[in-house]
């Protein structure tokens, strides 16, 4: 693929874990891109045209062609900028496993984590926290099996599943801070605790991982904003 000046834009917002995935992927491949910060309260024409179905970020626009859905974007980036490092594992079975866990995270686990913030009362919150912890126990086991003693799900370097899961670390920390609960920690999830630290230090991740303090402020801001609506 010719590497002349290609036009790569990413529509996103600083706090979104999904947008973060796309940014990490582009960083891993050292792809230069223009980051266009969207105001989700007043979406740009470009966003509405590029993702008319969902009107959501992230949207990658490569040579004027839009790609939506964060995990689809990661796979797209891996395929287009195919020089190493590869983000998807090379063996189809390992890919299927990585994609399975990423889809579990998006379809089941993250909605539960998000639900904690909007829980009506302590009882509901406890139930949701327990479900999140059960999910993390599954992921701890998966991490041990998949990493095979190496630091990341992807092996020596971060890969697809590291990106899919690691992008949620900011919001996991917000949940821990706001609700005084320990989700990823050395006793319950020793593997993940080490993994999380290494992930956040990765050169492709550090520049785009929001500060927990800012995310916490943003959480309170959102909560106040939607306090009126049930």
């Amino acid at each position: 693929m010719s590497k002349g000046k290609e036009e790569v834009k990413l529509l996103g917002v600083w706090a979104s874990p999904f947008v973060m995935r796309a940014r990490i992927a582009l960083n891993i491949k050292s792809v230069g891109y223009e980051f266009i910060q969207e105001n989700l309260g007043s979406k740009s024409e470009l966003l509405l045209q590029s993702n008319p179905v969902h009107k959501k970020v992230p949207v990658l626009i490569h040579d004027h062609k839009p790609v939506s859905e964060s995990l689809i974007i990661v796979e797209y980036v891996d395929q287009v900028w195919s020089s190493s490092p590869s983000m998807l594992p090379s063996h189809p079975y390992d890919r299927a496993i990585a994609r399975f866990w990423a889809s579990y995270l998006d379809d089941k686990w993250y909605p539960t984590l998000k639900g904690i913030g909007g829980a009506k009362g302590e009882e509901e919150r406890k139930v949701l926290i327990q479900q999140v912890e059960e999910g993390l126990a599954l992921l701890e086991e998966a991490y041990k099996k998949i990493s095979k003693g190496k630091p990341f799900f992807g092996g020596d370097r971060i890969g697809y599943l590291d990106i899919a899961f690691g992008s949620f670390l900011g919001w996991i920390k917000v949940t821990e801070t706001v609700f005084g609960t320990a989700l990823i920690e050395e006793v319950k999830t020793p593997g993940l605790a080490k993994w999380a630290e290494k992930f956040c230090e990765d050169v492709a991740v550090k520049p785009v991982m929001p500060e927990t303090k800012k995310l916490v402020e943003f959480f309170y801001f959102l909560r106040a904003k939607f306090a009126g609506s049930a």
Binding site: Y76, V80, Y93, F100
Partner: protein
């Protein structure tokens, strides 16, 4: 290619399981089919898919792969002849996007239109019809989503050709209006007439009875 150890664990009525069988047949891969009674799940299934406890499961050399669309990708990456996904990255991304859209939005909407009545049904129908319009826009001018032959997206959307009309009959509703969606109706004919598909569909009458039973069970709870 020698005899490969390929098994499919599924349920005869499952639209998700059928995708896997279509893909294997399109690639000419021999497999053993294992029927699972999803109302009384076996320990085999619970071992193979402990997280979701669902069919289908593909077993290749005894390793389980789950989630129908992920199985399609696995099949395509393992047996690379007769590719299902388009090779061009943007086309591939689009195929994945639409199959995700359909699974997250359309299947649920059609299911709810079948199972519920009143306002819930109406909302589901609205979503179903709006989504179908998007799919109509995608198929217009093409014989198959995959081009001249069936591909990944045809397989992923195949339920529209056969399960959806059954659900419409069971739930007394219509999403597939031929006047509104002529391109989809044409695609349905092409899809169902494909030699691999036509021989690999569950008996319609039994499917109808099965969903009628489900609907009446739900409305009595």
């Amino acid at each position: 290619m020698g005899r490969e150890d390929v098994k499919v664990v599924s349920f005869w009525a499952s639209l998700f399981g059928r995708r896997v069988e279509w893909a294997l047949k399109l690639k000419g891969i021999q497999y053993e089919y294992i029927e699972e009674d999803i109302s009384n799940k076996s320990s085999l299934l619970l071992n193979l898919n402990p997280v979701h406890k669902k069919v289908p499961v593909l077993l290749h050399h005894q390793k389980p792969i789950i989630e129908s669309c992920l199985i399609l990708e696995y099949i395509d990456e393992t047996w690379m002849h007769n590719p299902l996904l388009p090779p061009q990255p943007h086309q591939k991304a689009l195929a994945r996007f639409w199959s995700k859209f359909a699974d997250e939005t359309m299947v649920d909407a059609a299911w709810m239109a079948m199972c519920f009545s009143g306002n819930e049904k109406e909302s589901a129908l609205k979503v179903g019809r709006e989504s179908m319009q998007r799919i109509e826009d995608e198929i217009r001018g093409k014989k198959f989503f995959g081009g001249d032959d069936i591909g990944y997206l045809d397989i992923a959307l195949g339920w529209i050709s056969y399960w959806l009309p059954v659900w419409e009959q069971v739930g007394s509703f219509q999403i597939l209006d031929p006047l509104k969606f002529p391109a989809i109706i044409a695609w349905i004919t092409n899809f169902l007439n494909h030699p691999v598909i036509t021989d690999s569909l569950p008996p319609r009458n039994e499917l109808l009875l099965y969903y009628q039973r489900i609907r009446s069970q739900l409305s009595s709870t």
